[in-house]
């Protein structure tokens, strides 16, 4: 199948230069690569710029209401596990108004592929801070800077018991396609945090890693089974150091040839290291004024992908098992069990 098979006839209305254009194209490419026919795919979204995505994909689509995409997607997938279900959402839709549905779809491990577009701003309502905006962030609704601590999505997902977390960047098409394909291949709730730029209201929010000059030094693309090496000259590696007094582990940067350099294992059930990897470089988003000498790169790629039973399969399996043994299978058989009497 071709990417064009997944393109709808609708004119794409994201702002010129918006990061969502790139993710839209990556989705079409990834869906073609995955090869599931268009009628077997449903794309569910809430409200927000990114939630316009279903209109541009030639599959079944449902652009619903703010924050509820997760619950609606859960209904589609649980009732029809044979359908491939994607959810398109943003940092506001997923982490603010839809926060409850987001943590519960992760907790239940519903087999969904969730693209969470994180531009750290509310774009469609014209520029208010979001749950991922750094502390101190100045916006129309925070003219003196926010006083709130933001969410780090990776930490939230792992805290909710997430089985899959990947992070990608709008300007890195190959990594984005890889993450989307991996999300589809993973059975369970797959969260892909797509770092996207909002040219209008939050331009350059991810410049630290999006900038071509800096990207190699400031980010690392994690690949399962490969050594964690990064840098323009691929001269740096990541290792873990455990504080001898507090036993708190932390990630450190070491030379690439250091024998301590870690090999990425996305399938490790224990989330400790995945959490540390997910938190790398996030102090910059926690506080807008952070003066940090932290040299840790932002992790991109599939950080975590572990196997676990999915909600939709478990629910359907339970019904199948009960029905196998059941004596009652029709309404008339059901009423026959009543204590009735003739009048």
């Amino acid at each position: 199948m071709q990417a064009s098979d997944f393109k709808s006839d609708q004119y794409v209305r994201f702002c010129p230069g918006c990061g969502d254009h790139a993710i839209c194209m990556a989705l079409q490419k990834a869906m073609a690569q995955i090869g599931i026919p268009t009628h077997q795919v449903a794309v569910i979204s809430g409200i927000g710029c990114s939630s316009r995505m279903p209109h541009y994909l030639n599959t079944y689509g449902f652009n619903t209401i703010h924050g509820r995409g997760g619950a609606i997607a859960t209904g589609v997938k649980t009732s029809h596990p044979e359908i491939t279900v994607w959810q398109m959402s943003g940092d506001g839709d997923c982490l603010a108004i839809g926060g409850n549905h987001f943590i519960h779809e992760i907790r239940r491990n519903v087999d969904l592929n969730v693209c969470m577009f994180n531009n750290r701003i509310y774009g469609l309502t014209k520029g208010q801070y979001s749950p991922t905006s750094p502390k101190g962030f100045v916006s129309k609704s925070s003219p003196f800077g926010t006083v709130e601590r933001p969410f780090v999505p990776a930490q939230l997902v792992l805290g909710a018991g997430g089985t899959f977390f990947a992070r990608t960047l709008d300007v890195d098409m190959p990594t984005t396609v890889d993450c989307l394909v991996a999300a589809q291949q993973h059975k369970g709730c797959s969260i892909v945090e797509c770092l996207v730029n909002c040219v209008i209201f939050n331009n350059g929010t991810h410049a630290w890693i999006a900038d071509r000059e800096q990207r190699a030094e400031h980010s690392i693309i994690l690949k399962h089974g490969e050594k964690m090496i990064f840098g323009k000259d691929r001269d740096k590696g990541l290792a873990v150091e455990i504080d001898p007094v507090t036993f708190v582990p932390k990630i450190i940067v070491v030379p690439a040839d250091d024998p301590r350099v870690l090999t990425h294992d996305a399938t490790q059930p224990d989330p400790t290291l995945h959490r540390l990897l997910g938190l790398m470089g996030q102090d910059r988003i926690v506080n807008v004024n952070a003066e940090t000498d932290n040299e840790l790169p932002v992790a991109l790629g599939v950080i975590r992908s572990v196997e676990a039973d999915t909600y939709d399969q478990a629910v359907n399996r339970q019904i199948t098992e009960v029905r196998k043994k059941a004596k009652i299978k029709s309404f008339d058989e059901l009423t026959a069990t009543l204590d009735t009497f003739l009048l």
């Binding site: 026919p37 009628h39 079944y60 619950a71 204590d339």
Partner: protein, 641 residues
């Protein structure tokens, strides 16, 4: 303590009742741990099996388990049985009071908390000639203290009228005696007290014990160890009555008028269970998979319980993370082609409003069951009210019409749950079904239908020729859009909560298009009136000069009370089950009467709705809003003015 001189033996009392009665009201009343709901249900079920009509009213406290013996922990179960039974009855003819607190609550009714209150005809739960059976072992000083009595004689303190027949029975010690050789511990023995009382009541009504014991075996099927002791106690209770009253006539109900009923299978059923089964039946009839998304809320949760247990019937019940997710998972399932439902009560309906609007806009079939309770806010979660009507009709943003139905008896919760599914699937619309606490927990006699007797359901589909150029705005000749869902090749489309273009189905902000679409959605709901039954009037056969032009009007759960009131008044009455759209002949019916009294358990929501639909017709209104069903006598009193 002393038993009042007013109390007397069984023999003395029962001679008063040596006539045959048409119907009678019994109230079982005790501590919430005394098993009053079970006892009442068993009695009602036996009565039903013997061919009597029944109507029940469970009345339990809001607390799950209040401290034992206190006023807050009193749990009641009222049943009316006999013929011409439309309600559980205003006041009881027979009271079983298992302890001092129960005696007080039955005597003072809603005034039980007033320190100086005494028997008052307006508030007592039994009338002046009732029989009050009371466990004398549960009237110790400690019991009286817990129930906040000031003296050691509850009967004098409560000023129970002379005419009330108090029957003192040492229920606790008799039960202990009955089980002295059972080897059971004291706590388990005490749990059987309710069965002693039940045995006594069975004797009082001269009911055959074989059926009663069979029923008991059914009830305790899963706890076989309890069958023998409970049977022993129930029989001892029966014999106690027998031995004390050798030569008297017990209460005997008039033979039921079986000829008027179609010969068929009957059972007693609670409204919530009937609702759940209506959904199950509709799914099978429609050939659809039943999906429920729900969040626990009193008094609707039993529907979730019932459907979660019915995996054998291929029901998928998702207990969602909140009310919004309950309706949204259902909308997801509807989008994917299922018969989708969500069940809730008033506060939950508020939370679901926006999502119901989405289902209206996306034109998806969806059934929303609102088991109404006292409001606003958390309100009276365990009490009944009809206060969500306006919310169901109008409680959404924008011009947002949906179908609104109301069940009017515990048994016809089945029919209207079925009808809600039929309308939703055939017309691609959300349907809100209103029931309430009274219907949900109360039971009535249900004629068990076979699936083949139920009306056919033809879920909306899509013509094959639209393959390849389908869009979600395409409608049939009725104005109902076609239904295609994921998995169907060639019908891929994008549905939306945004306004869509009437032709292309894509997002549109065009002004004329919006107005066109608003009217199209309105028209779709209005045309449903073509396929619903006409409004029926129950005509009185004994009209007087005054009552001739009077019409009592109700909707939903008040049907039984209004029927009984109309009988007493000798006037006509009509009950609405279809609220939106209204039956086609509504104006024709209403315009025949000079005095129309709209009776409802709110401040006049349906009356206001009727006025908005028929501004030229005069509506009088009678309202009660106390968290309780109507008292028939108060309606009669008002209407006789």
């Amino acid at each position: 303590m002393h038993i009042s001189e007013k109390s007397s033996t069984f023999a003395q009392i029962l001679t008063i009742y040596n006539h045959i009665v048409k119907n009678i009201v019994v109230r079982f009343c005790g501590d919430s741990g005394d098993g009053m709901q079970l006892t009442g249900n068993m009695f009602a079920q036996l009565a039903a099996e013997l061919g009597h009509e029944i109507s029940t009213l469970p009345d339990f406290p809001a607390e799950i388990r209040a401290p034992q013996g206190t006023l807050g922990g009193v749990s009641g179960f009222q049943v009316q049985l006999g013929s011409g039974v439309y309600t559980p009855g205003d006041k009881a003819d027979v009271i079983v009071a298992m302890n001092a607190a129960a005696l007080k609550v039955c005597t003072l009714g809603s005034h039980f908390n007033h320190p100086q209150a005494h028997y008052d005809d307006d508030f007592a739960l039994y009338h002046r000639h009732a029989i009050v059976i009371v466990d004398t072992d549960a009237l110790t000083d400690k019991d009286l203290e817990k129930a906040l009595y000031h003296t050691d004689n509850p009967f004098t303190e409560l000023d129970i009228p002379e005419s009330v027949q108090i029957v003192p029975v040492p229920l606790t010690s008799l039960t202990k005696e009955a089980l002295k050789d059972s080897g059971m511990d004291n706590k388990s023995v005490l749990k059987c007290r309710n069965m002693f009382a039940l045995g006594l009541i069975y004797w009082l009504f001269d009911e055959p014990m074989e059926k009663a014991i069979h029923l008991l075996e059914e009830k305790f099927k899963k706890k076989p160890a309890l069958i023998a002791p409970n049977t022993k106690v129930i029989v001892d209770g029966y014999n106690y009555g027998q031995n004390l009253a050798l030569n008297i006539t017990q209460i005997r109900l008039e033979e039921s008028d079986a000829a008027n009923k179609q010969p068929a299978r009957y059972t007693s059923i609670a409204g919530n269970k009937a609702t759940a089964w209506g959904l199950i039946a509709a799914a099978q009839k429609a050939g659809k998979h039943l999906f429920l998304g729900s969040y626990p809320i009193t008094p609707a949760t039993d529907i979730l319980h019932e459907l979660a247990a019915r995996k054998d019937m291929n029901v998928m019940a998702v207990q969602a993370e909140d009310e919004i997710a309950g309706v949204c998972t259902a909308i997801g399932a509807a989008f994917a082609g299922d018969l989708a439902c969500t069940t809730t009560s008033g506060p939950g309906l508020s939370l679901k409003s926006e999502a119901i609007g989405l289902a209206v806009m996306a034109e998806l079939p969806l059934v929303i069951v609102d088991v109404q309770r006292g409001g606003p806010s958390t309100g009276l979660p365990t009490k009944t009210e009809q206060t969500d009507l306006m919310q169901a009709l109008y409680g959404r943003n924008g011009e947002c019409p949906a179908v609104v139905l109301a069940a009017s008896s515990s048994a016809n919760c089945f029919d209207f749950a079925y009808e809600a599914c039929k309308i939703a699937l055939e017309n691609m619309t959300p349907v809100i079904l209103l029931t309430d606490t009274y219907l949900a927990n109360g039971t009535g006699l249900w004629r068990v239908p076979a699936l083949e007797e139920l009306p056919a359901i033809h879920p909306q589909s899509v013509p094959e020729e639209l393959k390849g150029h389908f869009n979600p705005a395409l409608r049939d000749e009725r104005g109902v859009r076609y239904w295609a869902f994921p998995g169907m090749e060639g019908f891929e489309h994008r549905n939306i909560g945004l306004e869509r273009d009437a032709e292309k189905g894509t997002i549109s902000t065009n002004p004329e298009n919006h107005e066109h679409m608003v009217l199209a959605r309105k028209h779709k709901i209005e045309q449903i009136a073509n396929s619903i039954p006409d409004l029926k009037v129950i005509e009185s056969s004994v009209k007087s000069q005054e009552s001739r032009d009077v019409l009592l009007v109700g909707w939903g759960s008040t049907e039984g009370h209004l029927h009984a009131a109309a009988n007493a008044l000798g006037c006509d009455f009509t009950q609405f089950n279809y609220i939106c759209p209204l039956p086609r002949n509504t104006r024709e019916v209403l315009s025949q009467y000079k005095r129309i009294i709209v009776c409802e358990l709110n401040t006049g929501q349906f009356a206001a709705y009727l006025r908005s639909q028929f501004p030229d017709i005069q509506f009088e209104q009678y309202n009660e809003i106390q968290g309780q069903p109507f008292a028939v006598e108060r309606i009669v009193e008002y209407a006789s003015k």
